[in-house]
Symmetry: C2
Subunit: 530 residues, 2 copies
């Protein structure tokens, strides 16, 4: 979800390729060519003015899209009922804590054994400040936010093929790459190699800029010295008193930096979806859903599995099963806002136009896997001074993300030990959960040898085995979007779809929210128009 | 303090110049040529093994250097007393909250009128994760930490001389600068202009790297399109539903970016002292001192102004006045750890060697000013989506820093409305406090027009008027360090100095802590040696 695929992601093959060659973070750098985008059109709470005319709306799915629809439509005077498959609201906005259980497709049940206060968010885990809709509802619903450490210069970049598999600090590669870029461009400018592109007046400014920006010396070289060491780190750190004088470190060579491939993982914080300021809800992403629940929880019927959606000129009838009692039930309303993932909706009988039907079946879903690992202590902080942030690797786990909460605490800690989107995510998902955990542990121990001795327990969610989504989020290509996107979003008789799949912010909660607002606004207009 | 001067800072003239031309943040980029440095030699708690032999130590000053000495020496078995001028511990590690009063040199008294929970730290305000000593003591003393938002792509860069004075988002300038750097270097590489510096094999990798890193298109150009818009922002943001398709924004021209000078303020997060992860104590920097106070507060005598320090072969005698009663008092001990700022110590009679005496008088102190402004609401969040981080400007206020706490709260908010180090800091300091606040308000309103209507109250600390430091922190030049630094740090008879001035991490609490540990380690060795 969300950045299950980071900013963009449209073509599975591309993703797989990138995932294979460079680790998940590399996808940040590939986003340029993809179809989805960041930030948000959300400009403030929707105002559905005018009379709801006593109309009723049945909302399918109590993820953020469904919850926004429930909140805003009920505010506008509609009679609202929400049907939700799970025994909780939130959908993919989900948090696993100690005591929680989760049963996946195939029947395997995992019990989360995390200690008090520890958790993972198997789905969305970040809220960029440019996601104005999520930010708005968090503020309105009293959901406390704290910074998510997206970028950490003290975390690692790791490749099995570089530096003998020894992880490098982000600061080292970032500084050396930027330093050499500055030095090389400075050299080209001084040689007048770019005089067709840069005026001599601008060239003088550019040289001045590159010197500071690249940490270059007075001769415009990126070399061992205070300037570079103050970014990449010192051989002997500065201190106080008599033996305090620092000793600079030697930069890697340009060729070493380039051949390492670790530059692929620089800049995971420069796309709109990952730029600071970026947040997480205090205590887990489920608290966004719980904020909505405080307002509209009474409108939601849990444990309700939709089996059929039928519309006619009078209204919409939805058949559903109570997953606890096995009862077959029906709900009726004048209108229906359907936020079910297309993976699920495409398996349900629904009478809509052929164009919408085709759109429902046109969008494959990204694979994805997250593994949470609990350890006896926060060795990443205590031994390695890594406080939050993400280590990137070309191992199948793709990344290790350190918790952005309870910094410095002495008890057990939970990190995200795998977060895969490419072909490995499929492979991972085929394994029994305990085997996924075991592999994440084995691979991660190449980066943190403490893994083996400090491990306590783990939990693994493979999204194609999640019963209520069967995948992470919809993958649009330019072609499928051109053919199907508008058809997917159109009000079809008495039914309108909403969710991240009906947005240009795919995989993020903001897509679900903006999609929902757009859908209910059009639905309201239709009701107004009579 | 701390980064009152950001990472480096040695020459006042240079500082002034930089402060004048480019705003405080520009100093990040100037650090290369300066003398001080980041990170820390701290490698774990000091172990003073062996018998203290019943020796007593008088510690002057209860800032972090003095408090570390008190904690570690008392643990090692020394009889410790601390004399502190203020009626609180912490020294420059100081927080101003509603209800606090502060009287500066000249007699002006300000009462802080901030609402409950709001504060500013007039001195140090950030704790880099590389400052292992501060981090260690925060963990040991139970001081809760939260992220300080050093970098915010949504904050502004502002110049009175560019864009008609209209502030630009950090993301715009950052993206465009990096994009053009990538495009230009790519062009030079493709023209073989750098074939003497880059092998053809490396050149191919470099081109691949630059494309992703610079958000370039397939032809290696930084142009209007998805790639650049996903960093710099969209003309029409992406959203959900039918009208969701985003429209990219047009990059600034290379010449516009360069001539704006705003590139000077890019990269305030790349020096070791400012790299993420970077923290602040929850509730204010005073909580670091309060952590120490819980352990050694009983050893500290407050309201004690040192007037004379005398040593002979038997011990050290310190004369001091009780600032509440006016009593003249004396304290004696076998040894003395003096952490008084050199500005203060140089005004006190002390019998030390001529070389130490010369060192004490050799170090000028940086000017500095901080202004805290309280507003009726957090308009920077509500109107402008700026959550924490720093806006940089060439106005005398140098920067505006938004609070890294209570995000999204609806009550009054306090921001740091000025943080000046250059010549303006002197000028500011000469004004009456209410005039400093008025000017900060006037200047800041050029960036945030809401200032005028939302203003509630303010407080201003000019460090050269702070009675107990008379300046921010010591400024070493290469020359003064070569001549005086070791003399300053040497145990001189029974007296040893400690504090940020006796470190290579000047202006940061870490300098005080590492200096203190080095000083007491040597003192302990002397005691052991008999």
């Amino acid at each position: 979800m969300e950045d299950f695929a980071t900013p963009g992601m449209t073509k599975r093959d591309l993703l797989t390729l990138i995932g294979r060659t460079a680790g998940a973070t590399a996808m940040y750098m590939a986003m340029a060519s993809l179809d989805q985008a960041a930030a948000s059109t959300f400009k403030g709470p929707v105002k559905l003015e005018g009379d709801a005319k006593g109309a009723s709306v049945l909302i399918l799915g109590a993820g953020v899209a469904g919850l926004v629809a429930a909140l805003e439509l009920s505010k506008a005077g509609y009679k609202v009922q929400v049907l939700e498959y799970n025994n909780r609201v939130g959908g993919r906005s989900w948090t696993l804590k100690g005591g929680d259980t989760y049963t996946e497709l195939g029947g395997a049940t995992q019990k989360c054994e995390f200690s008090e206060g520890n958790y993972i968010n198997p789905g969305p885990w970040r809220i960029p400040h440019t996601h104005y809709g999520v930010m708005h509802y968090c503020h309105e619903l009293g959901v406390a936010l704290e910074p998510f450490q997206q970028n950490n210069f003290g975390a690692y970049l790791h490749s099995t093929k570089a530096f003998g598999g020894k992880p490098q600090r982000y600061r080292t590669i970032h500084s050396d790459f930027q330093g050499y870029v500055g030095e090389l461009l400075g050299k080209a400018v001084k040689q007048n190699a770019l005089s067709d592109a840069v005026t001599s007046e601008d060239a003088a400014i550019l040289l001045e800029a590159l010197r500071g920006w690249g940490a270059l010396d007075k001769d415009m070289r990126y070399v061992k010295g205070r300037a570079s060491a103050d970014r990449r780190g010192w051989d002997k750190d500065p201190g106080g008193g008599l033996t305090a004088e620092p000793i600079p470190s030697e930069p890697l060579s340009l060729s070493t930096v380039l051949k390492s491939g670790l530059w692929r993982a620089i800049g995971g914080n420069v796309s709109l979806d990952h730029q600071q300021a970026i947040f997480q809800p205090v205590g887990g992403m489920e608290n966004v859903a719980k904020g909505f629940e405080r307002k509209v929880g009474n409108l939601v019927r849990l444990n309700s599995k939709v089996t059929k959606i039928h519309q006619d000129e009078k209204g919409v009838t939805v058949s559903y099963d109570d997953t606890k009692t096995g009862e077959h039930l029906m709900a009726q309303a004048d209108w229906c806002v359907c936020t079910l993932p297309l993976t699920i909706l495409s398996q349900i009988e629904i009478n809509v136009s052929p164009t919408l039907d085709a759109a429902i079946h046109a969008v494959p879903y990204l694979p994805g896997l997250k593994v949470g690992l609990e350890f006896k202590r926060r060795f990443w902080e205590q031994d390695e001074f890594i406080y939050g942030g993400i280590t990137s690797t070309d191992l199948p786990i793709s990344q290790i993300s350190y918790p952005s909460y309870k910094y410095g605490s002495r008890g057990p800690g939970v990190l995200l030990g795998a977060y895969s989107n490419g072909s490995y995510a499929y492979e991972f998902t085929t394994l029994p959960p305990e085997e996924r955990v075991a592999r994440a542990l084995e691979w991660g121990s190449q980066i943190h040898p403490q893994y083996k001795s400090e491990f306590m327990n783990g939990i693994a969610v493979g999204w194609h085995r999640v019963p209520w989504t069967q995948g992470c989020f919809g993958i649009w290509t330019e072609e499928s979007r051109a053919t199907h996107y508008k058809n997917l979003c159109q009000l079809d008789g008495r039914i309108v779809l909403a969710g991240e799949h009906a947005s240009f912010i795919g995989g993020w909660q903001e897509g679900g929210i903006t999609s929902s607002i757009d859908a209910i606004t059009r639905l309201h207009q239709r009701v107004q128009a009579g």
